[in-house]
């Protein structure tokens, strides 16, 4: 088990370096889509971290954690992408084709 343990030690360092790089991009990212891409990247990297930790600890429960993280990461990415798109249409000036808001409609 010596070879596999060494490989796992190296792997943890490299995955964490990848997460750190993605986190730097999350901080730097000039635009919101950059940050969403960086978050997506961090989710995928943490899924692989869970896989590595499952091998290291010999506990299969971490595979479940990986599934749930992949699911939540996908939902978060889709929601943030929709948010970016909606926000851009709200910030740009309205065109004539859009109907004005009805009286008393709640803004939101």
């Amino acid at each position: 088990m010596d070879l596999l343990e060494t490989a796992l030690d190296v792997s943890f360092v490299m995955v964490m370096l990848g997460v750190a790089f993605a986190f730097i991009r999350l901080i730097l990212g000039p635009s919101l889509p950059d940050r969403v891409v960086a978050l997506d990247m961090m989710t995928v990297l943490i899924v692989s971290f869970c896989g590595l930790y499952a091998i290291l600890s010999g506990d299969t429960a971490f595979v479940d954690v990986a599934i749930v993280l992949a699911l939540i990461g996908f939902l978060a990415t889709v929601a943030l992408a929709r948010f970016v798109e909606r926000r851009s249409t709200r910030l740009t000036p309205r065109t004539k084709a859009e109907t004005p808001k009805a009286e008393g409609e709640i803004d939101g």
Binding site: M1, L3, L4, T6, A7, L8, V10, S11, M14, V15, L17, G18, V19, A20, F21, A22, I24, R25, P30, S31, L32, P33, D34, V36, V37, A38, D40, M41, V44, L45, V47, S48, G51, L52, A54, I55, T60, V63, D64, A66, I67, A70, L71, F74, T77, V78, L80, A81, R82, V84, E85, R87, S88
Partner: protein, 109 residues
């Protein structure tokens, strides 16, 4: 022998994860960064999950690992498509590129 295969899978997977992280940090614009995160990231996580499936070797774990790989393979393109479209529509600055004729009108940029 099995240990060598497992170590190779783990190291290869983690190499792709590392390259994906480096790509997200270093590449010049959103769409190119997405290219690194989506493809290399999914491949790296998939290889590590294959290593998990081989290491445990019982049916329940193999099923869960394969389900995670399939889920990643199905959802990564969908998520990347949505972020890419949102980035294009919000007029994020592109790196030296020529946008295809008519793409701006067709995609309501």
């Amino acid at each position: 022998m099995g240990e060598i295969i497992l170590s190779a899978l783990v190291l290869l997977g983690v190499f792709f994860c590392f390259v994906a992280g480096l790509g997200v940090l270093r590449l010049p614009d959103v769409l190119i960064r997405m290219h690194a995160s989506t493809k290399a990231g999914t491949l790296g996580a998939g290889l590590i999950l294959v290593a998990v499936a081989i290491y445990f070797g019982d049916t329940a774990t193999i099923t869960r690992a394969v389900a995670t790989i399939l889920f990643l393979l199905i959802t990564a393109p969908v998520a990347a498509h949505m972020i890419g479209r949102a980035a294009f529509r919000t007029k994020v600055a592109m790196w030296k590129t020529k946008i295809e004729d008519g793409a701006e009108e067709n995609l309501h940029r």
